[in-house]
Amino acid sequence: MPDVRMAAYVHSKGVSWEVKNDTLMPSDRLRQDRSESPTPGLVEGTEPGAGQEGAMFVHAQSFEDLTADSEPNTDNKSAEVDDAQEEALEEGDEEEHLESEQEEKGKEELKNSNKAKEEDVTSETWRSHRKHVFVLSEAGKPIYTRYGTEEALSSIMGVMMLLMSFVEDKKNIIRSIHADGYRVVFLRKTPLILVGVSRTSCSDRELTRELQYVYFQIVSLLTLTQLNHVFQHRQSYDLRRLLAGSEHLTDNLLRLLDRDPGLLLSAVMCLPLANSARDVVSSSLQAAKAKNLVFSILLAGNRLVTLVRKKDQFLHHMDLHLLFNLVGSSSSFREGEGWTPICLPKFNPAGFFHAHISYLEPASDLCLILVSTDREDFFNLSDCKKRFLERLRRRSAYQSLQEALNTPSYSLSQVGIPELRHFVYKSKSSGLYTSPDLPALYEGGEEQERLMGLYQHLHSCLHHPTRPLRCIYRCTDTENLYALVTSGFELYLCFSPLGTKSLAVSAVNRLLKWIRKEEDRLFILSPLTY
């Protein structure tokens, strides 16, 4: 039986792309009559999951917004050339990717955070990681490495700084190196240099986007003002002094980038919850407000229960993911009430908010984050939490929340589409996405990352800077994939390898109907402000 691999690219002709929204303020859309039979061309604002009123989030494109800062207009030609070269390498990369995947099947990698730090950087184990991330100062001093210790990698980081400086000395800029199945991506965010290394099928843009997240994690801890100040004051400063104790945040963020589609899509997922219960929770947060309170966020693990914001203030998904990462990386908030300065770089990279972080109960996964502009606000926010809890109990909503926590996700069997193994659906106007549990086939960490890698690949094809696609259907040995993007939503689907393209197309329509039917439960349709 010959081994047939097929990648089908479908271009839509005659479709005009929507003009990009260049303001951070989302445009409120009048609610139109929601049609009974959805079509793939749903207009933004009417797709399943679209909020009825103003959005909660900054209106962010999946890709462009995150990289806009790092690619000024003058570099457009250079970017095109790089992407053209990358395109030529794509085919070889896929073969390499398939081979490495086969080699790694069955391997079990226990990624203990401490063990990763103590790895010998001269060992084969260190060299065989699928991805590496390095952060150094413009002076060549190590700041962070995902695996190994910064001191042991001092020479390698010097080489990275050297490569960047050599190229810049000739009035040019280094973006990436492709060699021997590896990609090395460089990102300069003065006064930092970030380097990503990968031997997966990740594109350069995907790796750069991940480096952007690492950069924003660092800014979140320090503010850009302070970061610039310390290096202006002393270029030889060892930034690890200020970042001491935060390595686990960056480690955890990188794990999320490998597994959480929300960071890929610039979207967050909601805890499935009855509309009525969510409204009670939102209004209880709305009532428990304080003068300098800007955002009230209730999380359930890595799911958003609700978000209430001050009028005219919007949160960016990336900032919310940094908050998720902060809460998810630390167990210390469980016992009491945390009070921590945090910079939300997309909101304002220059200064700190202060966040009151506490779990509703020590054994619960419900975590309340209250974000204030006043660093003396702790007791006010502590009082807000108490009032919120009292109100929840008085309105019998707490029990509903606890019950919802017992089923924080849903199984694909509820959708009832045979051959469909998994999907990720993002509503553009609400900035929220939904995705079922991974089936048993993908439950292992390695398989989960492999599936995420496939989604990342589809994502980079759809959002290619010069040749974007409207939809893409791809067959591999182990599954068939279908992805499409419209003005209203993005959808990524994974099918059994026995599926066909026509089955995929009909599955989309059925899935959209199901999501429409369930949108009250899966999305936040009525966000509130105070």
């Binding site: 002076a139 910064e150 001191e151 050297l162 503010t223 002094r241 990279p349 220059a350 908010f353 202060h354």
Partner: protein, 202 residues
């Protein structure tokens, strides 16, 4: 003692052929190769050590002294913690060029506080019979140029090599000053934020 070590960037500067690479190799790998080749661009090695109870990792940058490599070496001056100015005691010209090397370093490193930046001067190749630079003359130059420490070294004989690098570390530690942390108190002003609809950095 499992804390992170202090990481210091140290640069070796001086004319080509005075023995900078040999000094670095002697200190890091404890080897000397009389058949040494000219450095091209920059090379660097690491050395871990403990000074006065503190763990230190030295990132030692060795530079090419020839003029044609100037554009290759100068980008790496920025962010150095200490500079080791090196000449050979049997080469008067290399000693007379120390002033130019110091000037080049100060120009390209963009040091914020030039008067306090730590320099250490190394007079290498003291194993040679014939000297063109006397010790008194070298010490006088050091006194006139910021009172920097002076070491007579031999990479070949392993004379004073460790002492010179350790002195460099001590010079850095002595001039270490805490970063101003008042910025940690800067909070968000919502009204100021409203004026900036899109903030782009770089």
């Amino acid at each position: 003692m499992s804390g992170k070590s202090l990481l210091l960037k140290v640069i070796l500067l001086g004319d080509g052929g005075v023995g900078k690479s040999s000094l670095m190799n002697r200190y890091v790998t404890d080897r000397f190769d009389s058949q040494s080749f000219h450095t091209i661009g920059v090379e660097f090695l690491n050395r871990d050590l403990e000074i006065d109870g503190r763990l230190v990792t030295l990132q030692i940058w060795d530079t090419a002294g020839q003029e044609r490599f100037k554009s290759l070496r100068t980008p790496f001056y920025r962010g150095a913690d200490c500079c080791l100015l090196t000449f050979a005691v049997d080469d008067l010209q290399s000693f007379q060029n120390l002033g130019c090397w110091k000037k080049e370093f100060m120009y390209y490193s963009d040091v914020r506080d030039p008067e306090r930046f730590p320099f250490v001067v190394l007079g290498n190749k003291v194993d040679k019979e014939e000297r063109e630079v006397g010790e008194d003359e070298a010490r006088a130059w050091c006194e006139e140029n910021g009172c920097c420490p002076y070491f007579e070294t031999s990479a070949k004989d392993d004379t004073n090599v460790g002492a010179a690098f350790e002195a460099a570390v001590r010079e850095v530690l002595a001039s270490e000053d805490p970063i101003d942390h008042t910025l940690l108190s800067s909070s968000i002003d919502l009204h100021g934020n409203r004026k900036v609809t899109r903030s782009s950095c770089c």
